[in-house]
Symmetry: C2
Subunit: 209 residues, 2 copies
DNA sequence: CAAGACATCTGTACGGCGCTTAGATATGAA
DNA sequence: TTCATATCTAAGCGCCGTACAGATGTCTTG
């Protein structure tokens, strides 16, 4: 009874269904794509009845929110890693590249993430220790580290917005067939992405060196 | 029999149902939003049975394609008008503003347009007289008019892509709540959009004056 | 003008969907 | 042990996209 079956907190009589449902959703998302992600299919994949998820999520959107949330965490981590690996003025473009690469490597997940954002009309803001720890905030912080004046709050915010919008746009369109030839000429997708970012003049420090 | 009932080409016995369906879809899109746009609802709005649309469209996606197509035409026209109204170096940012404003004023339509593009993994290319007459092409042409070297084909294309991606990203995110305060500080949405575009350094001619 | 070919539309049906409700079952606290 | 409560199942509602058979109107051809 009191013995822990697997890791921690197995609150009730079926295991941790909430966790299992999110995992099942991510599995389906990868294997079948976003259009196959029905609540019933997720329940099926998790081996429970179609009504079971409603004890853990108010509705389908709330389940997708949970999936999206994990996506944002993954994106944040990917950007964090890329920033650490880059040097000085390259940190900012490294963030952009990491952002777009994440979206391109996880297209279905990225779509769920932004569908949720569009519905809520807001990017997710993740607070840790009372501080905004979102990926968006990370871009702004990096701009300051690279020389943007934090006292010029409006300019700083506008530059961050411009950068984020460009990243999102590129993330959604990098796979479009129109660009196939250009990608081939430039030697693949990653060089293509870097080249596009180099044509964005929003990073003064980028243009300088 | 040979008398024209309304304008031209009334091919058959119910009128021009294809036209009526697209109109009904656009009406529903405006009044109820994209989530209410079911094939059955469109048929209902047009006053026909749920199966009738299948004689004019292969499936729901094809109907939405037709709606999206009209959206792209409207966007193209809005951009064309804006370009004509602007002077010299301002033509490019005028295009960007017009693009984002169109998306913001027709959010549901814009969503249908890009959902279709994402599914096809391609922007629509509209040919007239054998020439690419798409809105995307219009941006590239404008860059050339403003001094970009058409011989540097790769650079020109990259700059166009960067500009388009930034426009799309901003179009999707301009309504996010995170930006409400900033928009208020800047005196509304349009000044906000202009400010973001000014922070995109992709337009050398923009930065110059 | 008659007759058949054809395009167009309706009626009906199928399976899947999101979600609700009622009832079964297991868990944890008194 | 009892009982409230959390969790899950079974069944069902109305909606969806789509298919198909048949009715109805239009056009062509003789």
């Amino acid at each position: 009874m009191s013995e822990a079956k697997s890791v921690e907190s197995r609150p009730y009589h079926h295991g941790d269904l909430r966790r299992a449902l999110v995992d099942a959703a991510r599995r389906l998302l990868e294997s079948e794509g976003p259009s196959a992600l029905s609540l019933r299919a997720v329940a099926r994949e998790a081996g429970v009845s179609p009504a079971a998820p409603y004890h853990h999520f108010k509705d389908k959107a709330e389940l997708l929110d949970a999936v999206a949330h994990e996506g944002w965490e993954m994106l944040h981590q990917a950007m964090d890693t890329a920033k650490s690996a880059a040097e000085g003025a390259h940190k900012l473009s490294a963030l952009g590249i990491a952002y777009v690469c994440f979206a391109r490597e996880n297209p279905a997940l990225y779509r769920v993430m932004y569908d949720a954002a569009r519905d809520k009309e807001a990017l997710p803001i993740e607070m840790h220790d009372g501080k905004d720890d979102s990926a968006y905030c990370m871009v702004r912080d990096t701009m300051v580290e690279l020389g943007s004046d934090p006292a010029q709050a409006v300019d700083l915010e506008l530059a961050t917005i411009a950068a984020w919008c460009a990243g999102h746009g590129l993330a959604e369109m990098a796979g479009f067939k129109q660009f196939d030839q250009l990608k081939a000429e430039l030697g693949g997708e990653k060089p293509f992405l870097e080249a596009v970012f180099n044509h964005l003049g929003l990073f003064p420090s980028l243009n300088r060196d």
